[in-house]
């Protein structure tokens, strides 16, 4: 894991929590939307809070796509675990929602669970080999120097890609 990849995961976390909070605030201003009056959804997008929330969720989407390109789905989702804590803090202090002790415990348990899972490898799927090949191909053609063990030529990304080869090195356990 490189600093850049941690930044991407942080982006997934923060943008999702901030976007959801903004949406919630906007939707509370608008009130309940009836299934029989769907035009309310279009009006909802015109609310500034909802609009900013959508922009933040677009930023989340870009970070999320980036993360999914180099890590498992079951790794990327746990990486957003701190978002639950962030969301609870925003809900309590910015939206003034009541959060009971049981809900706090639930949030802690969820964060613990997803933090626990994040200690494993980032990429385990069968697509790892396929991905390495797809990354190798352009370079092989361009430079004429194929290198299966070091597809990135020893740059900062190489530890992650070499881990997909099955070295089993711990990814982020020490960080959580």
């Amino acid at each position: 894991m490189t600093f850049r990849k941690y930044l991407v995961l942080a982006g997934v976390t923060v943008f999702a929590a901030a976007g959801d909070s903004m949406l919630s605030h906007g939707m509370k201003q608008i009130g309940s939307i009836s299934l029989y009056h769907l035009q309310g959804l279009i009006l909802a997008v015109l609310n500034p809070w909802v609009a900013v929330g959508i922009l933040l969720l677009l930023a989340f989407f870009a970070s999320y796509m980036n993360a999914l390109s180099w890590a498992d789905l079951t790794y990327v989702l746990p990486a957003t675990s701190l978002g639950y804590v962030l969301l609870a803090l925003v809900a309590k202090f910015a939206l003034h929602e009541q959060i009971s002790l049981m809900r706090w415990l639930g949030i802690v348990l969820i964060s613990g669970g997803v933090g626990f899972v994040a200690g494993g490898e980032a990429l385990t799927s069968g697509h790892a080999e396929e991905k390495s090949k797809s990354l190798l191909l352009p370079k092989t053609v361009k430079n004429g120097a194929p290198d299966r063990e070091g597809p990135n030529g020893g740059d900062a990304e190489s530890p992650v890609l070499s881990r997909t080869g099955g070295s089993g090195a711990p990814a982020t356990g020490s960080d959580r």
């Binding site: 498992d72 789905l73 978002g83 809900r103 639930g106 348990l109």
Partner: protein, 126 residues
């Protein structure tokens, strides 16, 4: 009745989220490491490769459906219940779906985490 609406909305969000996430994950694995590809071949190659992956569009469709159902659910319930509950149940659904459809190695560590998350969701609902 409000709880029925809230939890019904949450389940709909979860279903579409899992479908969207799995398809998006599949698409992005086919694209490859975006940063690496961008540096090597340029932004337009990245965009072109993403746009030529059909599961990307199906994934976006699933996520869009999840987004609009989330809008409904958020208007019916508190954000501190709806967002974590939907995301956590999505996490469990994704663990099953990722194992079945993406062939990820969902090991004991990840299953234990799924149970912890399920417990957390039960507490959130209490």
């Amino acid at each position: 009745m409000r709880h029925v609406y809230t939890w019904g909305g949450i389940l709909v969000v979860v279903f579409f989220s899992v479908v969207g996430d799995v398809l998006m994950a599949r698409a992005m694995k086919r694209v490859g490491d975006v940063h690496e590809l961008w540096r090597r071949a340029g932004l337009w190659t990245v965009v072109g490769r993403i746009l030529s992956t059909p599961s990307f569009f199906f994934g976006v469709g699933g996520m869009a459906a999840a987004f609009f159902s989330l809008l409904f659910a958020l208007s019916w319930g508190d954000v501190s219940l709806v967002a974590p509950a939907a995301a956590s149940l999505t996490f469990i659904g994704n663990a099953f779906a990722a194992k079945m459809f993406l062939h990820e190695k969902v090991d004991r560590r990840r299953w234990i985490a799924a149970l912890l998350v399920a417990g957390g969701v039960a507490l959130l609902a209490g």
